[in-house]
Amino acid sequence: MVRAVPAWLRGLAWAFVVLAGLFLLGPLAVVVGVSVSENQFIAFPPEGFTLRWYEKALGTREYVEAFWLSLRLAVVVTVTATLIGGAAAIALSRGRQAGAMETVFLSPLLIPTIIFAIGMLMLWSSTFGPTSFATLWLAHTVVTLPYVIRTTLAVLAEADPFLEEAARTMGAGRLRCLWHVVLPQCRPGLIAGAFFAFNISFDEAVLSLFLRSPGHNTLPVQIYGQLEFSPDPTVAAVSTLMILLTIALIMILDRLLGLNRFAKA
């Protein structure tokens, strides 16, 4: 198909792709640049090379505590969202009136996070008092659930429904069938969903900002606070570590499932 495209247009297309790439990745590259610059102030292009800011970031209690909080939160959110979302997706894939139910389950994607965030804050404060780790856990699980459901449903849509029927006629009970037939079929979807859930929870800033309690700042909230008041190259070092984590996640996802899946879709 590309061959039928005039040469001048192909050249233009290449230039466009390069510019779009610069636009999309430039801001990330700039952060990495600042994090290794010897300049005391935030400036670009960087001067020299140093790992001093990383040392300083790893020695700053606020960042380290925020990192552990974000990690703990992302892990429990991933586990709960994958379990609950996986179960819901299996039920959705069988349902006859799945359309309406699917909209219900995907609705957290449609309602802006900020609206849900203040609702959550108001409900929690009036029923349980001050917000805590549990508030963040609940809120993050709600927003990550649709991702697990979507990826699992996509895999189940391609699965062979007769496999389950075959297992049943061969005498497997419902639970055995679920465990030995349905669950293995869901696996790629569950893995992809878990990755997205982890990534979203770890990076999420809006819910965490509204629902934060003293001493409970996640890493993005900690970075946000620094950026609002006095950004220094240490924030760039922490941000770079977050970018590296994203790259690592994408690479692991590619290893486990192959990104081809997403490129084809």
Binding site: V30, A91, R94, F116
Partner: protein, 272 residues
């Protein structure tokens, strides 16, 4: 155990989570927006519209979101089209190019823009070196900064939505148009564009709602003076501690978003 009961059991935890963690919070917010010291009242909404301050924030939010949506579509459409027409290997790299920023925290991406647009950033210093602007020039805390940052943040959503509809488009249709004597641009205009219109509209509606409700990027790049609706809600919640008013503003945002979401849902339901 019957099939029905099994399905219900599988649904139960998800439904309970959504009821407790999603439906109730939203109901609570709706309720707070209409209660006052003596029962039900519309005073919080009236306050929003009593002078031009808050309506101007609302108007800025809508105006910026429109600009951001148009720019995102203008960049996203050609990018998605190119992605749908290149080989699988190159497409994979381009998907990574789009997904990597998408999966990076918005806070980090906004930081990148703060560096790029700031006083000691490359844009300001290049302009200064050529004598085009004065010493204190910086793009930070301008509407331009918000637009630039937001287009980068939301471009992946547009590209991925469009890629879905463009990849399903049968390339033979284009080939047919070409063999019948259409030029590339003619076939693009008469075949590709009309067939991918639902995807373009769906992507635009999605970008518009995300843009209208975004908080982190506009607050950091726009600063305290250039306020958008989401930032004003945050201020009411955390600084003035007027939660009823915050809820009323959120309902206004919610209503605006719902107006845009209904056509979005119709479109995506029809086209998958």
């Amino acid at each position: 155990m019957t099939a029905r009961r099994e399905t219900l059991l599988l649904f139960a935890p998800g439904l309970a989570l959504l009821a407790l963690g999603f439906l109730l919070p939203i109901l609570r917010m709706l309720m707070l927006s209409v209660v006052g010291p003596d029962g039900i009242t519309a005073v919080h909404f009236a306050r929003f519209f009593q002078d031009s301050y808050y309506p101007s924030i609302l108007w800025r939010t809508v105006r910026l979101s429109l600009i951001i949506t148009v720019l995102t579509a203008a960049i996203g459409f050609p990018l998605a089209y190119i992605m749908s027409r290149v080989g699988l290997r190159l497409r994979l790299w381009l998907v990574v190019m789009v997904i990597l920023p998408l999966m990076t925290s918005v806070v980090v991406r906004t930081f990148g823009w703060m560096v790029l647009l700031g006083r000691s950033g490359p844009i300001a210093s290049t302009l200064r070196d050529h004598g085009l602007v004065g010493r204190g020039f910086s793009l930070m805390h301008t509407e331009t900064a918000i637009v630039l940052g937001m287009v980068q943040v939301l471009l992946p959503f547009m590209v991925l939505t469009l890629l879905g509809s463009l990849a399903r488009l049968d390339p033979r249709l284009e080939e047919a148009a070409r063999t019948m004597g259409c030029s590339f641009l003619q076939s693009f205009r008469h075949v590709v564009l009309p067939l991918s219109l639902p995807g373009l509209v769906a992507g635009s509606l999605l970008v518009f709602t995300l843009s209208a409700s975004s908080f982190v990027t506009p607050s950091l790049l726009g600063g305290a003076r250039i306020e958008v609706l989401a930032a004003s809600i945050y201020k009411s919640v955390t600084q003035t501690l007027d939660w009823n008013f915050a809820a009323a503003q959120a309902v206004i945002l919610f209503a605006g978003v719902a107006l845009v979401l209904i056509p979005y849902l119709r479109l995506t339901a029809r086209h998958g």
